[in-house]
């Protein structure tokens, strides 16, 4: 197996995996979507009744959206996650009560008229847990409205709720094998013009597949070519695999964690099978 990294940024990864098969890549895809844990807000407490400010002005603790909607929107905000630092609440040494190694507390205190953003969530304790994507609108408050909220985030998995899904838009497709018969090709290059991904490039008197990894097998070039000089086929043993993260973890960390989860699972299977003897 050979892996070429086409792109690896904190939120996006694109890999070409050769000498493999779809089953293998699908196992990785499913694991990073459903099994890699991340932090998300799971409990929101709203202050009810009047909220006073410094000059003793009273605000009503209501907003144009229902509290359920506000808490749902809060839960979808990506929380920066360091998997070394946090345990699952049910497996934590605190016995599920909630402690700094399994939960993050956030407070939110805003008085209208204003827009409440994800960046207004203040972590109780360490400042590095502040929300990175601080421009997500949560709710808008009108005159005399205020919001005072305590939210707790905990670790979970994508299979339980999409808010705990670290990976976004994960998928794979066959890599393209592009064959150009130079004997037949008249270098008219109408195929290069119609290609939506700019895969084909005219190189002097010849046609060249400059970026075969971008090809999405649309076959427009094959249909366009009058002399039948080009052939595009998907290669099931070479796959183009890509995914993004929601920003709570780096793409590389998500992939490494996914692989170690798979490894652990197969190790358990191996142990159970060897115990059969």
């Amino acid at each position: 197996m050979k892996i070429d990294v086409l792109e690896m940024t904190p939120t996006k990864a694109e890999l070409v995996i050769s000498d493999t098969n779809p089953t293998f890549v699908n196992a990785i895809r499913r694991t990073i979507v459903a099994d890699v844990p991340k932090m998300a807000i799971n409990n929101v407490e709203f202050h009810l009744g009047p909220i006073m400010d410094e000059s003793n002005k009273a605000y009503e603790s209501i907003s144009p959206l229902f509290d359920e909607i506000v808490s749902h929107r809060l839960s979808l905000v990506p929380i920066p996650t360091d998997l070394e630092q946090f345990n699952f609440r049910s497996e934590c040494s605190c016995g599920g009560e909630g402690c700094p190694s399994c939960t993050i507390m956030y407070s939110l205190n805003k008085k209208g008229p204003c827009t409440v953003y994800s960046g207004d969530l203040e972590p109780v304790g360490s400042e590095h847990l502040k929300i990175k994507d601080d421009l997500i609108p949560i709710v808008k408050l009108a005159e005399d409205q205020a919001l005072l909220v305590y939210a707790t985030a905990e670790l979970g998995r994508g299979k339980d709720h999409a808010k705990w899904q670290a990976t976004v838009g994960a998928g794979y497709r066959y890599a393209a094998d592009i064959e150009i018969e130079n004997g037949k090709c008249d270098a008219g290059c109408s195929c290069a013009e119609i290609c939506p991904k700019d895969v084909l490039v005219k190189d002097g008197r010849k046609l060249k597949a400059e970026h075969p990894e971008k090809c999405n097998l649309c076959n427009s070039c094959v249909e366009m070519c009058e002399v039948e000089a080009i052939k595009v086929t998907g290669n099931p043993s070479k796959l183009n695999f890509r995914f993004e993260t929601d920003g709570s973890m780096a793409a590389k960390d998500v992939l490494l964690k996914g692989l170690s989860i798979l490894e652990e699972r197969f190790e358990q299977l191996r142990e159970q099978l060897s115990a059969l003897e």
């Binding site: 209501i62 907003s63 144009p64 959206l65 929107r73 979808l76 905000v77 990506p78 994800s118 994507d133 601080d134 421009l135 997500i136 609108p137 949560i138 709710v139 808008k140 408050l141 009108a142 409205q145 999409a162 899904q165 976004v168 838009g169 993004e244 929601d246 920003g247």
Partner: protein, 63 residues
């Protein structure tokens, strides 16, 4: 009502891009260019931004 936090289909966070999108398109930039610049690539995410009707300011006075 208010811009969804995430894309309904793929789950990408799109809420944070909406205000910049509105500001830049109002200044005359083409929506396509702005969406590309904000790295909103898939058509599922693009439709969330493009087709959103922001009605919360009209609702807010009646609470």
């Amino acid at each position: 009502m208010i811009i969804p936090v995430r894309c309904f289909t793929c789950g990408k966070v799109v809420g944070s891009a909406f205000e910049e999108f509105v500001r830049r398109t109002n200044m005359g930039e083409a929506p396509k260019e702005v969406l590309d610049a904000l790295h909103i690539d898939r058509y599922c995410c693009r439709r969330i931004i493009l087709t959103h009707a922001d009605l919360i300011d009209e609702v807010a006075p009646y609470y």
